[in-house]
Amino acid sequence: MNHRDPRDEIVDHLPAMRAFALSLTRNSAAADDLVQDTVVKAWSNLDKFEVGTNLRAWLFTILRNTFYSGRRKSKREVSDPDGAFAATLASKPDHDGRLALRDFSVAFAKLPDEQREALILVGASGFSYEEAAETCGVAIGTIKSRANRGRQALIKMLHMRDDEEMELTDQATVAVLAGVGLSPC
C-alpha cells in the first residue's frame, strides 16, 4: 500500500493543529507560535514517524509536549481542577438547545489544561479514547475521567439544567439557583 510522504501531508493537518493549539494556549498569537515550533520539530523528527500510522496523533503529541515544556519553563498558570471560576456565567441554550458559541468557548477556556485537551481530542476531533490516551501519555481511564470531569464542569458553569426557562435577573434568583441563602447585609 502506498502512503503519501508525511512531508506533503503536514499541510492538511495545519487547521486541526491550530485548533488544538488554540484550545491549549487560549491565545491566537501563542497558538500560531506553538504550531510553528511543532512543525519545525516534527519536520526534523520525521524519520521517527512510522509511515502508515496516524500522523495527526503524532503531530498532536509533539504539539502538546512542546506546549507543556514551554509552560514548565514559564512556571505560570496553575490548573484549576475544582472549577473555581465556575458559576460566573449565565447562559441559556437557544431554541435548538445549542448554547451561544461565545459563552461556550469562554466556559471551555476556564477548564484546566488536562480537561480541555481531553475534551478536544475525544469530544471534538474524533480521537478514540485509546488514541487520546497515547497522545497524552496516560491511561485510557484517565482520559475518560478527565473528559467527563470537563463535561460536568462545563454543564455547571453554563447552568445547563432541567428548568431552563429560568431568568437570572437579580441577586436573589441567582442565590436561590446556586442553592445558597442570601447573606444578610
Binding site: R7, V11, R98, G123, A124, S145, R151, I155, D162
Partner: protein, 57 residues
C-alpha cells in the same frame, strides 16, 4: 429531559450519555468553527523553507 448534575460524579461509569452528547455537540461546533479559519501564509512559507533546506542538503 433529565440533566440533573451530580456533584460527586468524577468517574466515567456514571456519565449521562445525553449530557455527554449535549456537551460534545457544542464542542464539535466550536472546534469546527476553529477549523474553518484560514491558515496564515507563514505556515505554507515555513513548509516551503523546510523543504528547500532538505533539498539543499
Amino acid at each position: 429531559m433529565n440533566r440533573t448534575t451530580t456533584e460527586s460524579d468524577a468517574g466515567y461509569e456514571n456519565a449521562d450519555p445525553e449530557r455527554t452528547e449535549y456537551v460534545d455537540a457544542n464542542l464539535r461546533r466550536a472546534y469546527n468553527e476553529m477549523l474553518q479559519e484560514e491558515v496564515p501564509d507563514r505556515f505554507t512559507d515555513l513548509l516551503r523553507q523546510l523543504r528547500e533546506q532538505d533539498n539543499a542538503q
